[in-house]
Structures are given as structure tokens and as C-alpha cells.
């Protein structure tokens, strides 16, 4: 479905039909985004709902300078981060041993990616990550945020962000290897 200017205008006017069309068009992609920041689907759907309320509330600020999907995604991600910040402060501020940057330079390991690794499995792995790791990993990998931006967004130091990313990668690598061994994959 193509979301045209008229639908955006109708959404600004508060027309429910247009809002539903917008929701139907973007909700699947945005739920995928939410699920990368949440431990389970119910929580992700809650965030999706609340975020779409913000989308409809603020859609008049969309100026058409970028893609609508990008704008909605930014609102969704910001809302997810706020939600996680409020709910999971403890998890995000896990005591971690900060490590030197030189130690984590090479920690984006190369992984064999057989076809058996389906997206659902990878998403499940992301959801299994501890909340702090998951947030930093998702922001860095999927939203292309640098450590400085992540640190500002989450109120942590840059080095903490790097450490969280390092641990997330290590955790994911180990889990993938575990799964591979179980399936006798090389």
C-alpha cells in the first residue's frame, strides 16, 4: 500500500480510517522494530500501541523531508527507549567491568550463516539478550547509532556503551555456536 500525502493529511485531521490504513501499512515493520528492544511480544505490542498514539498525535510535525517510515521508526525507537529507561533502569545499569577500547576492536566476529538460521531464531536471540545489552546492540546495529549518541540517549558513558556492545556480541556468538553444536552444524 502506498501511503500518500492525502492519508497523512487525513491522519492529521484525525480521520480514523486513514489512521487505520497508516497503522496497517507500518505496524508489521514497526512491531519488528519494537521486538528488538523488548523481551517479549506482549511488551512490544504495548510499546507499538503507545508509540502509534504518539505518531498520530505528532504527525502534523512530519514535514515530508524524509521518508514517513523513517520518521515513524524514529518515534517508535524513541518511545521504546523511553519505555525501557523507565521500566528497566536497573537492567540497563548493570554492574559491568568496563574494558579498554583496544580490547574490543576485534570483537565483531565472523559467523558462518547457514540457511538454517532463520530470522525468527535471530530475533529470538536478540530478545533473550539482557536488556542493557539488547538496547545498545539494537541501537548500534539496526539504527546505526554511534557510541556517543547511544551514551547521550541512554545516559551512560561511551565506554559503557562499548562494553555493553562487546558483551552483547560475545553473548550472541556463544549462543549461535551452542545452537550450531546442537544441530551438528559446522
Amino acid at each position: 500500500m502506498i501511503i500518500d500525502e492525502q492519508i497523512v493529511k487525513d491522519c492529521i485531521a484525525g480521520k480514523r480510517q486513514a489512521q487505520k490504513m497508516l497503522f496497517d501499512n507500518f505496524a508489521p515493520l514497526m512491531l519488528g522494530v519494537c521486538m528488538r528492544y523488548c523481551g517479549d511480544r506482549d511488551e512490544a505490542e504495548d510499546i507499538l500501541q503507545e508509540a502509534f498514539i504518539k505518531v498520530f498525535q505528532n504527525i502534523h510535525t512530519f514535514r515530508g523531508e524524509g521518508s514517513l517510515a523513517g520518521w515513524i521508526k524514529r518515534v517508535i525507537v524513541n518511545h521504546a527507549i523511553n519505555y525501557i529507561n523507565k521500566k528497566n533502569k536497573a537492567a540497563r545499569h548493570e554492574k559491568i567491568d568496563e574494558i579498554r577500547e583496544t580490547d574490543i576492536i576485534d570483537l565483531n566476529p565472523v559467523i558462518e550463516f547457514p540457511d538454517e538460521y532463520n530470522p525468527a531464531l535471530l530475533l529470538k536471540l536478540i530478545q533473550e539478550l539482557p536488556a542493557g545489552y539488547r538496547t545498545v546492540f539494537s541501537l548500534h546495529v539496526f539504527e546505526d547509532y554511534g557510541h556517543k549518541e547511544i551514551s547521550e540517549l541512554l545516559g551512560i558513558s561511551e565506554n559503557t556503551s562499548k562494553t555493553q556492545l562487546f558483551k552483547a556480541r560475545r553473548w550472541l556468538k556463544n549462543r549461535i555456536e551452542e545452537i550450531r553444536k546442537k544441530k551438528n552444524l559446522k
Binding site: G14, R16, Q19, K20, F23, D24, A27, P28, L29, L31, G32, M35, R36, R41, A44, E45, L48, Q49, F52, I53, K54, F56, Q57, N58, T61, F62, R63, E65, G66, G70, W71, R74, V75, I104, I105, D106, L107, N108, P109, V110, I111, E112, F113, Y117, N118, P119, L122, L123, I126, H140, V141, F142, D144, G146, K162, L165, R169, L172, K173
Partner: protein, 477 residues
């Protein structure tokens, strides 16, 4: 992309790319309940954020006219109903010069089938056996034409007459024997009230002589067959009772600052308890309300913008027309610079208040079911919560520097002078409907004073609710 990513050296992928490629654009279909729930939330939100300033003036005028018409019709219907229900007054001022009149026990009004109070159960008038034994159709008929000469006297009902209460006991005291009164022919009295005229049919009962009528505020005395009858009306106790009410009130709040008026819609849920005595009442209660205003933010951000361009040489060729000369192939290349911007962003904020009024009321007009009055008094409001929407920053390639909140600060406590018009309709013994248009003037303001002065606030609203009456015996008669 992160500077930490490695190049993919072999058949596998690095971890970031693996996840990005696999689930970067993964779609997950939400359950249908998500939209249903979202739809409800949007609906509730729209109701909560309903902005009266967006309502066309024609709609406001139409609604006001409709309200006035409905109120007028209700008033007319109730007045008509109460006219039919109410009985004429028992206070009958007798014109001077009135001759002694004979009043039989079977007095009955022929107009509008209205019973004269003396006929009612409140007045156990002694009845002549001869009259009682007569067929009723002869008792109710007036055999004497209204043009009967010389025997017609007129009794005018007092205009401020109160309807007789069924609970008023009457004491009949035969006190003394009077000398025999001169015999009088039967008399027809005409009783008029407002635009209606009622004829009192007086049977020709020569054997019963009535005379010596005197009427004071609470005593009716007359002589019948030599016996003096005295009807004494007991003092009616001042009615007092409690009532509780629950209502909702949409409100339009207007505040003026620097000559600029801003209107906002508020919503209140009010519960109250009132004590009524005579025509006065005292009411207090608790209301919880949502009010809204516009959040004003200045958002400073920095973005890389194209400020100029230069021509970049991307190749050259020999000029075939001028050997030895080169023709450069160029392309416009944008020059970016980091620029600071300030954007004005508006949001919608919600505040939660509780209010406690203390109102003194006075009833201007009352019928059995309808009451019109006014209330006046102070009210105090407390700010108990606020929910400020964050500004949404939508600046591609921009980096947020600072968000400055310029929304006027609200005071935690403010006092108002409250004036309302009370319109009540009692539809059962204990339940009633109330419609109270009201006005509030803020004695202490909702907002903190600024350098530019103190804003001036006032509000208009319409409280619509139900009432429950405690200890009210019945509809007022």
C-alpha cells in the same frame, strides 16, 4: 555504520551484518487486538482532548439555542403540570362588605375538576345528613344561574397563595352557640385564580346557616347553625433535607495575558453534598478535572546543511577543436557545514486538578418538581498532577542541542469565585436531574506571574448531573 565492524573476510558474515540483514527489516504481524485497543485509546484521547475552540461558532450557537428551547419546554411542561396538581389556596381574603354566606359541606369546583380545600380530606367538615343523603349528581350541579341577582358575591384568591399541604392538620373547635343567623338564600361564589375561573356551587340548604366568616393567615372561622367553627392551620415546619449530586462539566477556560486571550477545554467530574433549608442551601463537594494547555518549546539543534558548492573535476579530454587545450569535466559538489537552528515546537499538556467549592444557594422559583435558583461562593483548586508531552524532534541529520521549555508555569493552588444557575428537575421522590451553567473568576491565577504581567483567568462551564435527595418527604406541594 560502526567503526568497530570488521570486513567480512570469508564465506560467513560478521555478527552485525548477519543480524542486520536477517532481521533489519523483519515484519511481524501484530494481533488484531492491537488495533482495537489502539482505536479505543485514540477515541478516549480524542474525547479527553476535545477542544471547544475548534467547534464552529454556528454549532455553539445552535447548541445554546437548543438548550434554551429544551429548558423552556421543560419549564412550561413542569409549570403546566404543577398548575394541574396544585390546589387553590385556603387563604381566602373575604372582601369587605361581604354578606354572611352559606357554605354547605358539598362544595365542589366545576372548573378543571379542582377540589376546594374545604372539600379535601384535610378539612373534616361536618356534613348535613340531609345533604349527604342526596344523590351526588344533584350536589355537583349548579341549579342557580350565575346571573342570579343580588345573591352573588365574589371571593378573590390571594395571588401569593400557597398550595395546601396534605400533611396540614386542621383542628375544628365548636366553641359557642351564636344567635341564629338570618336565613339566606343559597349563594354562588366564583373563585378566580390567574386566568381561570372556578365556580363554587352552593346548594340551597336553608336549614344550614353560615355566617361570620373571618379569615386570618392561619385561622378560618365561621358560624354554622349557631356553632362557631374554627379551622386552625398548624405552622408548617421549614423543610430541610440533604442531597447528593454527581455530575460532569465540560468547561471553557479563558486566560488573557498581554491582551491575548487563549481558550482551552477542561473537563470535570464533580461530586457534592448539599444541605437545603427553606429556600436556602449550602453545598460543598469534590471535583476532579483535566485541563489542557499548549506546551511551548524552543528546540535548538545542529545539522549538516549544504551551504555552497564547488566544481569538482572528475576528468578531462582533449579539445578536438583546439589541440593542446584540455576540457575539464566537472561536477557540482555540495559543501556542508554544521549550522545551528532553533525550532518552535508546540505540544499539548494535560494537568489534573481537584477542586472544593463551598456554595450558598437560594431558590428563586419552585414547583412540585422544578426548581430554579442560583449559587455563589468560593472554590479552591489544587494541581495534583501534570503530564507534559515531550517535543518531537524531526530534523533529518540534525543533532539535538537543547530543549527550552517556555510553557507558563502553573500554581499549585488557586482560588475562584463561583457563580452558577441551578436548574433542577425532580423526576422521582429521591432522584432528580440538575443542569447548572456556571461561571468562575480566578481570584488567584492559575499561572505564575511573568515579567510581562499576571494573566487573567475565568471559566464558563455546564455541570450536568443527577441528584439524590435524602430525607425529602415528597415532592414539594
Amino acid at each position: 555504520m560502526s567503526q568497530l565492524n570488521n570486513q567480512n573476510p570469508g564465506p560467513g558474515k560478521n555478527l552485525d551484518d548477519l543480524f542486520r540483514d536477517a532481521i533489519g527489516n523483519q515484519e511481524v504481524t501484530p494481533s488484531p487486538m492491537v488495533w482495537k485497543s489502539l482505536n479505543w485509546k485514540l477515541l478516549i484521547r480524542e474525547l479527553m482532548h476535545f477542544n471547544f475552540t475548534n467547534v464552529p461558532r454556528l454549532a455553539i450557537v445552535s447548541a445554546t439555542v437548543g438548550l434554551v428551547v429544551v429548558a423552556s419546554l421543560t419549564y412550561w411542561a413542569v409549570s403546566h403540570d404543577s398548575d394541574r396538581d396544585s390546589a387553590p389556596s385556603q387563604n381566602i381574603p373575604v372582601h369587605s362588605g361581604l354578606k354572611p354566606a352559606t357554605v354547605p359541606a358539598t362544595v365542589k369546583s366545576t372548573a378543571a375538576e379542582r377540589s376546594y380545600p374545604i372539600k379535601s380530606a384535610n378539612y373534616p367538615v361536618k356534613q348535613d345528613p340531609a345533604v349527604a343523603s342526596r344523590p351526588s349528581h344533584t350536589l355537583n350541579r349548579n341549579p342557580w344561574p350565575s346571573s342570579a341577582p343580588a345573591a352573588v358575591t365574589r371571593v378573590q384568591l390571594a395571588t401569593n397563595a400557597k398550595p395546601a399541604s396534605p400533611s396540614v392538620p386542621v383542628i375544628i373547635e365548636p366553641t359557642a352557640i351564636h344567635p341564629e343567623s338570618p336565613s339566606q338564600p343559597s349563594v354562588t361564589k366564583e373563585v378566580s385564580q390567574a386566568n381561570e375561573t372556578s365556580s363554587l356551587v352552593i346548594e340551597p340548604l336553608n336549614s344550614l346557616d353560615f355566617s361570620g366568616f373571618t379569615v386570618t393567615d392561619d385561622t378560618l372561622t365561621f358560624v354554622r347553625n349557631g356553632e362557631v367553627f374554627k379551622y386552625v392551620r398548624e405552622k408548617i415546619p421549614v423543610p430541610s433535607f440533604f442531597s447528593a449530586n454527581l455530575g460532569v462539566a465540560p468547561e471553557l477556560s479563558v486566560y488573557t495575558s498581554n491582551g491575548t486571550s487563549t481558550a482551552q477545554g477542561n473537563y470535570w467530574l464533580n461530586a457534592g453534598l448539599a444541605y437545603h433549608f427553606s429556600r436556602f442551601s449550602v453545598r460543598t463537594g469534590l471535583g476532579i478535572g483535566y485541563t489542557y494547555d499548549e506546551g511551548k518549546y524552543l528546540v535548538s539543534y545542529r545539522s549538516n546543511d549544504s551551504v555552497s558548492y564547488y566544481r569538482k573535476v572528475i576528468g578531462y579530454i582533449q579539445d578536438p577543436a583546439n589541440p593542446g587545450h584540455l576540457i575539464y569535466i566537472t561536477r557540482n559538489q555540495a559543501i556542508y557545514d554544521s549550522l545551528n537552528h532553533i525550532a518552535d515546537d508546540r505540544t499539548r499538556n494535560r494537568y489534573t486538578y481537584i477542586q472544593v467549592p463551598l456554595l450558598i444557594g437560594y431558590s428563586i422559583y419552585e414547583t412540585s418538581r422544578f426548581r430554579l435558583g442560583f449559587e455563589i461562593g468560593p472554590a479552591v483548586s489544587f494541581l495534583i498532577g501534570s503530564k507534559k508531552a515531550e517535543p518531537v524532534v524531526d530534523y533529518p541529520n540534525g543533532r539535538l542541542i537543547k530543549v527550552e521549555d517556555n510553557t507558563p508555569s502553573r500554581l499549585s493552588t488557586n482560588w475562584q469565585l463561583w457563580l452558577d444557575l441551578s436548574i433542577e428537575y425532580q423526576f422521582t421522590r429521591n432522584w432528580g436531574l440538575s443542569i447548572n451553567p456556571y461561571y468562575k473568576y480566578f481570584i488567584t491565577n492559575q499561572f505564575q506571574s511573568t515579567e510581562s504581567g499576571t494573566p487573567d483567568s475565568q471559566a464558563f462551564g455546564l455541570d450536568i448531573g443527577i441528584q439524590y435527595f435524602f430525607g425529602r418527604k415528597d415532592h414539594k406541594k
